[in-house]
């Protein structure tokens, strides 16, 4: 038998269903905060839906869809300070939007254009790595480095359920716990690693059980409940800042979209479950909560959606207006001080291209 988690066995929820389950509330959030959080959700949702369209139109490359994951991204980010670092996986590719990163930058990234290379230190959002879970040790090291420097900042690492099978997750989590690094581990358990279900990934009853093994607190929340994710992250951040080390949050949802635009999940996924989950998707649930509270009008919804659509229109326009990439950049970006052999290669390239300089 698997160990039962020391933390709450049931999913934490704040948002009710408008019928039999009553709404809860989170202390300390003003009406303006609640609406700001809705704005974040709509921005991410709009980004995701437009990106799928842009992909179909051939305007961006293969894209990792995050539809119905917006709540765990926006909820967690809302609990952070600006100095805290976010280590996204590719599922959180657009989380920089919540830190002021222009949509143009992220769309350029998906277009494979150099304008999409952001400086992580400008937004405290790390570059995205393709290999799974490899950023967990980075987040642990950054958090510990901040602590060594006497800074107050912490780090959060987003990763999927499949990532918990990786050695890097284990080594990073254990390292962070031993070092008491100010880190939040946020596991997006959407039930699927491409086509591999969680049941083929682990025999643990719940992923949050793993926290026990690392000697860190763990909690299990409804990943489509933005307020529950926010509250759990806020608690974890308080522990991190208080010198109590890392925490593990398992945010549970169900992947209702393909893994990425190159994937057709119909051969493996439970389509009835997908349809059921779509009906309780996270943006609509939060919108219903706010309307029941009476803090969100039709006009506000329309304005917020319009603003998000504008962000995307401006972003894709700017990304497509970028000049073609300068090939010579390949010689400039790998090193602070490129070896002399690269200078010779660059001179050769310039000669071939006809003497233009970049």
């Amino acid at each position: 038998m698997a160990q039962v988690a020391a933390a709450e066995p049931e999913l934490r929820r704040v948002i009710g269903d408008g019928e039999t389950v009553a709404d809860g509330e989170v202390d300390g959030l003003s009406e303006a905060d609640l609406v700001a959080l809705y704005r974040d959700l709509v921005l991410l949702r709009t980004y995701d839906e437009r990106s799928v369209v842009y992909h179909r139109q051939g305007r961006i490359g293969t894209y990792a869809i995050f539809w119905n994951h917006e709540a765990m991204q926006a909820g967690a980010a809302f609990a952070l300070g600006d100095d805290d670092w976010i280590f996204p996986s590719y599922r959180e590719s657009a989380i920089g939007l919540l830190r002021g990163m222009p949509a143009e930058t992220i769309l350029s990234w998906w277009r494979g254009h150099p304008a999409g290379w952001w400086n992580p230190a400008d937004y405290n959002v790390a570059s995205i790595s393709v290999p799974i879970a490899t950023h967990v040790p980075h987040a642990a090291g950054l958090a510990w480095g901040k602590k060594l420097r006497g800074e107050d900042a912490c780090a959060i690492a987003f990763f999927g359920d499949g990532a918990t099978s990786e050695g890097a997750f284990h080594e990073g989590a254990n390292f962070a716990a031993v070092m008491r690094a100010p880190l939040v581990l946020l596991c997006n358990n959407n039930g699927w690693a491409i086509s591999t279900p969680l049941s083929a990934q682990t025999r643990a009853e719940a992923l949050v059980d793993k926290a026990v093994g690392y000697g860190m607190p763990g909690t299990r929340v409804d990943g489509a409940d933005v307020l529950a994710v926010y509250e759990a992250t806020r608690e974890a951040v308080e522990r991190a800042r208080g010198g109590e080390g890392p925490s593990f949050i398992e945010a549970v949802t169900y992947r209702t979209a393909p893994h990425a635009t190159a994937d057709d999940p119909r051969v493996y996924i439970d389509l009835e479950r997908v349809e059921a989950e779509k009906k309780r998707e996270c943006v609509g649930r939060y919108e219903g909560y706010l309307r029941r509270l009476g803090v969100l009008s039709d006009e506000a919804v329309e304005e917020i959606r319009g603003d998000a659509a504008d962000v995307m229109r401006t972003g894709i326009g700017a990304a497509e207006a970028e000049s073609p990439a300068d090939i010579g950049l390949v010689f400039e970006h790998a090193y602070v001080d490129p070896p002399p052999s690269l200078a010779a290669d660059l001179a050769d390239l310039r000669r071939i291209l006809g003497g233009s300089s970049g």
Partner: protein, 329 residues
């Protein structure tokens, strides 16, 4: 000039950087109370305390990965991988992470990480405990690779590596820790990418790294008795490589032997041979000779190990093969 061991020189470089700069710290397995499996960090815990001389769990991937993260946080971490053989466990972090993050940020992020490790055969530790794997890392854009052979070089190069804004993989040779050599009273940083001519000669250039620098110097002394004048060139850093220094030496002597302890096949010596034929083909009076280990896992049995890895006699034999030929082949 004071005389210190290679081991003391490594410690000296780290300690001096840590005295000068609060951003420098070291972490690795058993480096604190024990002072490292090779005794390199002995005494550093007492001077710098457990936060800056930090024992870690046995997690090579996390050690290097956390080093990458700490470098992002503004630190200058030095991490130790106890045996070069164990870099395999951290390969993802070295090849895909440390080496790529500057590139993936469009040249905007710095990863000033130094990864120290050691290896080298000659003491019969078997197949997984003494390999020379430096050629793997020279193949990765974004890394710098350093492999010093003397106390003076290891001190100056390590100090410089710590202050390099790129990730540096720094190889130390186990059998050299005890050798002594003179060093400047104050640490003098040595720029990466500058080779060193240990001995000038006229007839053949031996390009050697690590332990083989010392084998080559012994072979050169022997060859001199036969009237052969040998130049010994140690590139000291494999990436960036001092191509100018290496090629100009070969242009002077017209012959080249390349010698390393690592396996010959597909090794660093193959790149040196390619470089020499590309830039000094018309100067060569003989084919480039390569000296290195046989294509075999390192054996446990001492007599078998001695057969597999290269020694002074192998360098001498290669020298004689090159000078035994004239320009007409």
């Amino acid at each position: 000039m004071p005389e210190i061991t290679y081991r003391e020189a490594v410690r000296d470089a780290m300690s001096e950087a840590m005295r000068r700069d609060g951003d420098v710290f070291i972490m690795g397995e058993d480096i604190a109370e024990m002072g490292g499996s090779m005794g390199v960090t002995q005494g550093m815990l007492q001077e710098f305390g457990p936060e800056r001389v930090r024992n870690t769990p046995i997690s090579e991937m996390a050690i290097v990965g956390a080093g990458v993260g700490a470098a992002m946080a503004g630190m200058r971490p030095i991490v130790e991988i106890m045996y070069q053989d164990f870099t395999t466990l951290a390969m993802e972090q070295l090849v895909n992470q440390a080496a790529k993050h500057r590139y993936m940020s469009g040249g905007q992020l710095k990863v000033p990480l130094t990864v120290r490790t050691q290896g080298g055969a000659g003491w019969s530790p078997g197949a997984q405990h003494a390999q020379q794997l430096e050629a793997w890392f020279v193949h990765v854009p974004g890394l710098k690779v350093v492999f010093p052979s003397t106390p003076e070089d290891v001190r100056g190069l390590l100090f410089r590596s710590i202050y390099d804004d790129n990730p540096v993989v720094f190889f130390e040779h186990r059998t050299l820790y005890g050798i002594k050599g003179e060093v400047p009273a104050e640490i003098e940083p040595i720029e990466l990418g500058q080779g060193r001519i240990h001995r000038e000669g006229e007839d053949v250039t031996v390009v050697a790294t690590g332990r083989l620098v010392h084998e080559a110097l012994a072979a050169a002394a022997d060859a001199e008795k036969d009237g052969i004048s040998v130049e010994v060139f140690d590139p000291r850093t494999l990436l960036p490589l001092d191509e100018e220094g290496l090629v100009s030496s070969v242009k002077k002597t017209n012959r080249c032997v390349v010698a390393h302890e690592a396996i010959v096949r597909m090794g660093f010596g193959a790149e040196v041979a390619a470089l020499v034929q590309e830039r000094a083909f018309d100067y060569l009076d003989a084919p480039v000779e390569r000296v290195g280990a046989r294509f075999s896992p390192l054996p446990f049995a001492p007599v078998m190990e001695a057969y597999v890895i290269p020694h002074e006699e192998d360098v001498l034999a290669a020298i004689k093969r090159t000078v035994g030929r004239n320009g007409n082949g």
